[in-house]
C-alpha cells in the first residue's frame, strides 16, 4: 500500500463569519476582500516547505491538485508546484491529481507534464480529473454539456502526443493541429501512469476500466460514506471480466489528524476540522451541479436516490456536528493516536480495497508546525503499520511511476497492455 502526502493549498485565514457574508467558497468569493497577495506568497512557500518535509519523511509520493478562484484550495497550476518538486533530488513519486484537462489547450499539458517527467527522472503520476463544475463551468465558462467531450478529446490528444512519433496531425472538434510534435516526450514509456479522479459518476468508472487506469475517489466525507461508491467501482471492474481485483486500481483521499493521544487530537484539530467543513465545503448546488454537468440519466438517478424533487439540496454540514459524530461515529476524519489512526486506516484500506492512500494531513487553517507534528507522527508511527497492506497477497502496483523507486516493492512498474499502451 502506498501513502501519498497531498496538499490542497487552501487559504488558511478566512473570516469566521464567512458563511454569513458570502454566497460560496468557490467561483465568486471576492478576491480583493479575502485574498491578500502577500499572504498568499507566504502560504505558497509554506505549502512547498510542507511538501518537501513530507518527501523527507519518507512518503511514497507527494502531490497536489488543481483548482481555481476559491478559498478551499487554489493550486492554480499543479504543473508549477510539480516543477519545484521535480527539481529536488528525491525518489518519491510526484502525484498530480491533477490537471483539469478541459480548461487547457491540451498541448500545454502534454508538454509541461512531459517536462516535469524529464526533470524528475520519471517520477510523475499524471492525474486527469474531468474537473469540478465550479472550475469548468463556473470559472472557465465551459458550457456544461461540453465539459466531458472536451475532456475526452484532450485525453486522446495528449496520450497520442506522448505515444506516437511526431509530427502528426490531430483533427479534433475543439483542437485542430497540423503538427503534434511535443518537445520533449516523457521519460516514462509508453507514458507516465495516468490516474483518474472522480466523485462517483458511472462514466468515469467505465473510462478507468476501458483504459486500465486507476480510479481515485476524492472525498471529504470519509471512508464509511465512500463504501457504497467504491463498491460501485469494483462492480464495474468485475463486469469487464478480464480485469483483476488488484487494489492498486483504486485510491482514496482521507482527511487524517494524528496526535499522541485521542484526547490530544480532539484538542489540537477540532477547530481546524470545523473550519474546513464550515467554509471549504460551503458550495451552493447551483455552482456544484449546474444543468448539463451531469447527464440527464444521472440527474434522474440522483433525484430518485435522494427522494427529492430538487437538486438544490440543503447543506450537509450543520452546527450540531461534534468530534463524536465527525470522527468517532462516521470517520469523516480519521483522527486520534497513532494506534487509533492505523487501526481505522487499515479498515479503510481493506474495506475500500485501495492501494493508494491519499493522505490529507494539512487541513486548511493548520499552521506548518501543527502540520509537521501530525505528518511526523503519521510517518513514524502509522506508516509502518499500514504500508505492508496487500504485500502478502502479492499484488503489484502497475500504476506507479518507474522513476519513483522509494520503498520499491517487487514488480512495481507501469503496466503494458495489449498494443503497448498503458
Amino acid at each position: 500500500m502506498k501513502n501519498i502526502w497531498f496538499h490542497m493549498q487552501g487559504y488558511r485565514d478566512l473570516p469566521d463569519d464567512f458563511r454569513d457574508r458570502y454566497e460560496s467558497i468557490w467561483v465568486n468569493p471576492p478576491n480583493d476582500e479575502l485574498c491578500d497577495p502577500a499572504t498568499v506568497g507566504k502560504y505558497l512557500n509554506w505549502n512547498l516547505d510542507e511538501l518537501e518535509m513530507a518527501d523527507d519523511l519518507g512518503f511514497d509520493g507527494i502531490g497536489t491538485n488543481e483548482h481555481h478562484q476559491n478559498g478551499y484550495g487554489f493550486p492554480v497550476s499543479p504543473h508549477m508546484t510539480a516543477a519545484v518538486l521535480a527539481h529536488r533530488k528525491s525518489d518519491a513519486a510526484i502525484c498530480l491529481l491533477g490537471s483539469t484537462l478541459p480548461t487547457y489547450p491540451p498541448m500545454r499539458v502534454a508538454e509541461e507534464l512531459a517536462a516535469i517527467d524529464c526533470m524528475s527522472g520519471g517520477r510523475l503520476i499524471a492525474g486527469w480529473p474531468v474537473g469540478s463544475a465550479m472550475d469548468t463551468v463556473g470559472n472557465f465558462g465551459i458550457p456544461p454539456t461540453q465539459v466531458r467531450p472536451r475532456y475526452y478529446e484532450a485525453h486522446d490528444l495528449i496520450k497520442a502526443a506522448w505515444t506516437k512519433p511526431g509530427p502528426f496531425p490531430f483533427n479534433g472538434k475543439y483542437t485542430k493541429l497540423r503538427y503534434v510534435n511535443p518537445w520533449p516526450k516523457p521519460i516514462q514509456k509508453p507514458h507516465p501512469p495516468i490516474w483518474l479522479a472522480g466523485g462517483g459518476s458511472l462514466e468515469t468508472y467505465h473510462f478507468a476500466a476501458r483504459n486500465n487506469y486507476t480510479y481515485n475517489y476524492l472525498s471529504f466525507h470519509g471512508y464509511h460514506a465512500a463504501q457504497a461508491l467504491m463498491q460501485g467501482y469494483w462492480d464495474v471492474i468485475e463486469s469487464y471480466g478480464d480485469l483483476d481485483d488488484n487494489p492498486y486500481r483504486a485510491g482514496f483521499a482521507q482527511l487524517i489528524c494524528v496526535a499522541d493521544t485521542d484526547a490530544e487530537a480532539e484538542k489540537l484539530y477540532w477547530r481546524h476540522i470545523r473550519n474546513f467543513f464550515d467554509k471549504s465545503m460551503y458550495i451552493p448546488s447551483h455552482f456544484a451541479m449546474p444543468p448539463g454537468y451531469l447527464t440527464r440519466a444521472s440527474y434522474e438517478n440522483m433525484l430518485k436516490k435522494t427522494g427529492s424533487a430538487t437538486p438544490f439540496r440543503a447543506d450537509r454540514w450543520g452546527p450540531d456536528a461534534t468530534w463524536g459524530t465527525t470522527v468517532e461515529d462516521h470517520a469523516v476524519v480519521v483522527a486520534g493516536s497513532p494506534d487509533t489512526v492505523a487501526q481505522r486506516l487499515t479498515e479503510a484500506v481493506r474495506g475500500l480495497r485501495i492501494g493508494h492512500l491519499i493522505c490529507i494531513l494539512q487541513i486548511q487553517s493548520m499552521d506548518p508546525q501543527l502540520t509537521e507534528y501530525s505528518t511526523r507522527l503519521f510517518a513514524e508511527k502509522v506508516m509502518p503499520k499500514i504500508s505492508h497492506l496487500w504485500d502478502d497477497e502479492g499484488y503489484v502496483d502497475h500504476w506507479w511511476p518507474s522513476g519513483a523507486t522509494r520503498n520499491a516493492r517487487r514488480g512495481d512498474s507501469p503496466v503494458v497492455a495489449a498494443g503497448g499502451q498503458a
Partner: protein, 268 residues
C-alpha cells in the same frame, strides 16, 4: 403520425427530422398564416399567449433540440448549426414565409434566423431577447444561479397568481422530479450555445434583417434589461419598441392581455 391533444386543444406532433436527429415534438394550434414561437432557456411551453395568437394564426411551438435527447447536441456544435436545424424543421413543416416570435434564448435564435434567411421571415417579434451584450449593463446569469435569485430576475411580481402557479411544483413527487429534470435538460441544451455569455456576434448580422420587427420587453426584466430593446432597435432597420410595465422577463405571462393584443395587431 402520432399526435397528442392537450387541454387547450393544441396538438403535439413529433416531426421526423433528417440527419439522425430525434423527432421534434412540435405543438401547434389554430388556422391562418403561420407563426412560429421559439421558447426561452427553460423548456418548451404552450402559454396562454399562444392560444391568443392561435385565434388568427396557425401557431407552431417547437422544442429546442437536445432537451429530450441530449445526443442531438453532439450534432449541433454552434449556433450556426442550430439555425440550419430550424431551416430543416421549417422545411419538414412545409412552411414557406413565416412570422417568427422568439422569447429570450429563442429570441436570439429567431434574430439569427431572420438575419440568415431575410426573405423567409415576414414579421419578427422579439420578447426580452438575448443575443447582444453591453459592458455597462450585462445580461445576468441564468444557469449557475440559485432558484430564488433567478425568480427575482425573471418576474416583476413573483407572488402574482399566474407566476406563483408556474413556480409551484406538482404535488406528486414523480411528476415534480420529471418537471425538474425537464427544466434542467432544457436549460443545459440551450446553455450549450450560450454559456457563459449569450452573445455570439449577432450584432454583426442584425443589419441583414429585412423583416418589420416588434421588440416587446418587460420594463422590469432583471435578466435581459430593457436597454437591450433599445439596442436591438438601433441595429435593426425597421423596428419598434414596446416596454410592458409590471412585467419582467416573461411579459406574455405577467401582462398577457396587453402583450397578446400588441402581438396580434402587429402580425395582422
Amino acid at each position: 403520425m402520432n399526435t397528442e391533444v392537450t387541454t387547450g386543444g393544441e396538438l403535439t406532433t413529433p416531426i421526423e427530422m433528417p440527419g439522425e436527429f430525434s423527432p421534434n415534438p412540435v405543438i401547434s394550434k389554430g388556422d391562418g398564416s403561420p407563426v412560429v414561437f421559439l421558447h426561452g432557456p427553460f423548456g418548451q411551453e404552450w402559454p396562454g399567449y399562444l392560444d391568443d395568437l392561435a385565434t388568427d394564426h396557425r401557431v407552431y411551438a417547437p422544442a429546442h433540440p437536445g432537451a429530450e435527447d441530449p445526443t442531438d447536441l453532439t450534432r449541433l456544435d454552434h449556433l450556426w448549426d442550430l439555425v440550419l436545424y430550424y431551416d430543416e424543421l421549417f422545411h419538414c413543416l412545409e412552411l414557406g414565409r413565416i412570422d417568427l416570435v422568439g422569447h429570450s434564448f429563442g429570441g436570439m435564435v429567431a434574430a439569427e434566423i431572420a438575419a440568415t434567411y431575410p426573405d423567409r421571415v415576414r414579421r419578427l417579434v422579439l420578447l426580452d431577447s438575448m443575443g447582444l451584450w453591453l459592458d455597462e449593463c450585462p445580461v445576468e446569469e441564468h444557469v449557475t444561479v440559485s432558484p430564488d435569485v433567478l425568480h427575482q430576475l425573471l418576474y416583476a411580481n413573483p407572488e402574482a397568481p399566474e407566476v406563483a402557479q408556474r413556480l409551484t411544483a406538482p404535488d406528486d413527487l414523480a411528476a415534480a422530479q420529471a418537471a425538474m429534470v425537464r427544466q434542467f435538460s432544457a436549460t443545459a441544451a440551450t446553455a450549450h450555445f450560450t454559456h457563459p455569455i449569450p452573445e455570439r456576434g449577432l450584432s454583426t448580422r442584425l443589419h441583414r434583417i429585412r423583416a418589420e420587427t416588434l421588440l416587446l420587453w418587460g420594463a422590469q426584466d432583471g435578466l435581459v434589461p430593457p436597454i437591450y430593446a433599445t439596442e436591438f432597435q438601433r441595429q435593426i432597420a425597421d423596428a419598434q419598441v414596446a416596454l410592458i410595465d409590471n412585467a419582467g422577463h416573461y411579459p406574455y405571462l405577467e401582462q398577457r392581455i396587453d402583450v397578446s393584443r400588441r402581438t396580434r395587431e402587429f402580425l395582422a
